[in-house]
């Protein structure tokens, strides 16, 4: 009889048989992390190190000059840096909130409520997982222009809120909650809205955190909204301002430090939030399958 030699999934502790995996995983992680470490290092380089030949990967005498330049370039152009930051903050907070709320209510309805056409709606949403937003930039622009939404905050938020992936993940997650829970709450006289907010939301909070993260990444990193639908410079976002830095600094070597500082500022909130919520994300992903 064959000896059981199968995988040890999710082992409790280190064993030397795992070495072969570390042997692949650690170099791979290093390779993946390299560009990000580079951004961090480059962002703190003083001018003479940016120009150094041969180039050095790590910073020697770190300085905050690039970050100061980042602020002053904006201020000199007439739009205070704080304005871009404020815009991004408003857009991201409103967008994430609306996305989580709308996605989760819709997911709950598709999972637990009874109404005609719900199967079809979920099918359409699953097909929309394959949707590539860049492909419809033009029709989107036409719609937004015709609705008179050019130059409003809404146009930075609304197009990004309905995320088929988000709805898909939350719906699959809610499917796991037993119907009895909802039934007994109904017997106690709770309305659907009460059931949703008091019972469902706490249970599916991992999935909501996941949608929140995905929405955050979309909204915080988005530059196309500002460049396509916003003419008023005062309403554009931080990510958009950062994307114009290359042109503003004339793509010079000195400008690279500023660009790296900008990339770092864009990246840090993403990774911090993800680190805090990663266990919830993994919990959600366990139910992510297409059945």
């Amino acid at each position: 009889m064959a000896k059981f030699q199968g995988v040890n999934i999710n082992p409790a502790r280190y064993h030397k048989s795992q070495l072969k995996f570390y042997f692949v995983l650690i170099p791979m992680a290093l390779f993946i992390a390299l560009p990000i470490i580079f951004i961090v290092s480059h962002a703190f380089k003083p001018e003479n190190e940016l120009f150094a030949y041969p180039p050095r990967f790590f910073v020697r005498v770190p300085t905050l000059q690039n970050f100061r330049d980042l602020v002053s370039i904006a201020n000199e152009s007439g739009i205070p840096f704080s304005r871009y930051l404020f815009n991004s903050f408003v857009v991201t907070v409103l967008g994430v909130t609306m996305s989580v709320l709308f996605t989760s209510t819709a997911a709950y309805a598709l999972s637990k409520l009874k109404f005609t056409g719900k199967k079809v709606l979920f099918e359409i949403n699953t097909i929309a997982l394959m949707f590539v937003p860049i492909a419809v930039t033009i029709p989107r622009y036409l719609i937004i222009a015709n609705l008179g939404m050019i130059d409003s905050y809404f146009v930075l938020i609304l197009p990004l809120i309905a995320m088929p992936v988000g709805l898909f993940l939350v719906k699959q997650f809610i499917d796991q909650t037993p119907d009895e829970l909802i039934e007994s709450a109904k017997i106690d006289g709770a309305s659907e809205m009460q059931i949703f907010f008091k019972i469902i939301v706490p249970i599916v909070s991992p999935a909501l955190a996941t949608v929140g993260i995905l929405a955050f990444q979309l909204l915080w990193n988005d530059t196309s909204g500002s460049s396509l639908y916003i003419n008023d410079e005062r309403m554009k976002t931080l990510a958009f301002y950062f994307s114009t830095l290359g042109a503003r600094t004339g793509n010079t070597v000195a400008g690279q430090g500023v660009l790296a500082a900008a990339s770092l500022i864009t990246f840090v909130p993403n990774i911090v939030i993800f680190i805090f919520l990663q266990s919830r994300v993994m919990n959600t992903m366990a139910h992510s399958g297409i059945k």
């Binding site: 040890n8 409790a12 390779f31 937003p133 860049i134 029709p139 809205m193």
Partner: protein, 294 residues
């Protein structure tokens, strides 16, 4: 009033409205516009299939560069990225929780960067100056005598696009597959070995993958979509649309070229429709492949 709020419509309407306005209707408009001549100033003029015929028979750039480039890019980045995601997830699942979490966050981190924000890294690493990191290393090692124009030469651009895209291919699908592997019932493995499973390969193909097929399918869709979405990268790296000798021109760039540079919206819509159909077709085919094997 209160009873009305509890109708399903209240739960789904906000999502459905936004979904319709920004996803469904745009797709329908793209399909509609694809049968017209539309230069954004005059009203669209119906011209039947002429745009489609033009794309397939007259657009030399599309047939010679854009389509082959897109296919090459997609057929390397998609499957390789997908396999990398699976293999790395499979390995991660077999190490303890703490190192797994740290390594998973690192592997996923490129997905949190935005393409534009990372351009600075690639332009510095692959700069055509002797001060570019890669060129500087190659020069010092004596491998080359002249710096290579990585980003502006047609010979290198596509390969660099592929490397950069693979770098960022461990996304949501990767996380899903990792979670999927971690959740497979251990007794399945034990039972299979009692039934005569012989080695790791059999185990992966007879137990692991079939048990997490839903996550495999989700990961596949994410890989396909991510690949076609990543097209803007050539323009960012080389700094212009069109890319040098169209070497990094993908379908999304072709759409931009016709839509926002030449303002031929009808024609650009044809490319959009073809792109959406391509993503849909490839996802479906992948489903079939994954479904039939087991």
């Amino acid at each position: 009033m209160i009873s009305k709020i509890n109708r399903p419509a209240w739960f789904i309407t906000p999502y459905i409205v936004l979904f319709s306005v920004f996803i469904l209707v745009p797709v329908l408009i793209a399909v509609g516009l694809s049968f017209t001549y539309f230069n954004t100033i005059e009203t669209p003029e119906f011209i039947g299939l002429r745009n489609y015929i033009e794309l397939l028979t007259r657009d030399e750039v599309f047939m010679q560069y854009v389509l082959p480039n897109t296919i090459k890019f997609a057929f390397i980045v998609g499957p390789v990225g997908y396999m990398m995601s699976f293999i790395l997830a499979w390995m991660l699942a077999q190490i303890p929780h703490k190192p797994r979490t740290v390594l998973a966050i690192i592997l996923y981190s490129p997905s949190m960067t935005s393409g534009i924000a990372m351009t600075v890294v690639w332009t510095v690493l692959f700069s055509g100056d002797p001060t570019g990191y890669l060129n500087s290393i190659l020069l010092q090692l004596g491998i080359v005598t002249e710096p290579i124009q990585f980003l502006t030469s047609a010979d290198y651009l596509m390969n660099i696009m592929i490397i950069v895209s693979l770098w960022g291919s461990m996304g949501v699908g990767f996380l899903a597959m990792l979670a999927g592997i971690l959740n497979i019932d251990k007794s399945l493995y034990e039972a299979a070995y009692v039934d005569g499973l012989k080695n790791r390969w059999q185990e992966i193909f007879y137990i692991t993958i079939p048990s997490m097929k839903p996550q495999m399918l989700f990961g596949a869709v994410m890989a396909v979509v991510g690949t076609f979405q990543a097209g803007a990268i050539g323009v960012m790296l080389s700094g212009g649309n069109p890319t040098p000798q169209y070497s990094g021109q993908l379908m999304v760039n072709h759409i931009e070229d016709y839509g926002f540079i030449r303002y031929l919206m009808g024609y650009a819509s044809v490319i959009s429709v073809v792109l959406l159909l391509l993503v849909y077709g490839i996802s479906r085919t992948t489903f079939k492949l994954l479904g039939e094997r087991h």
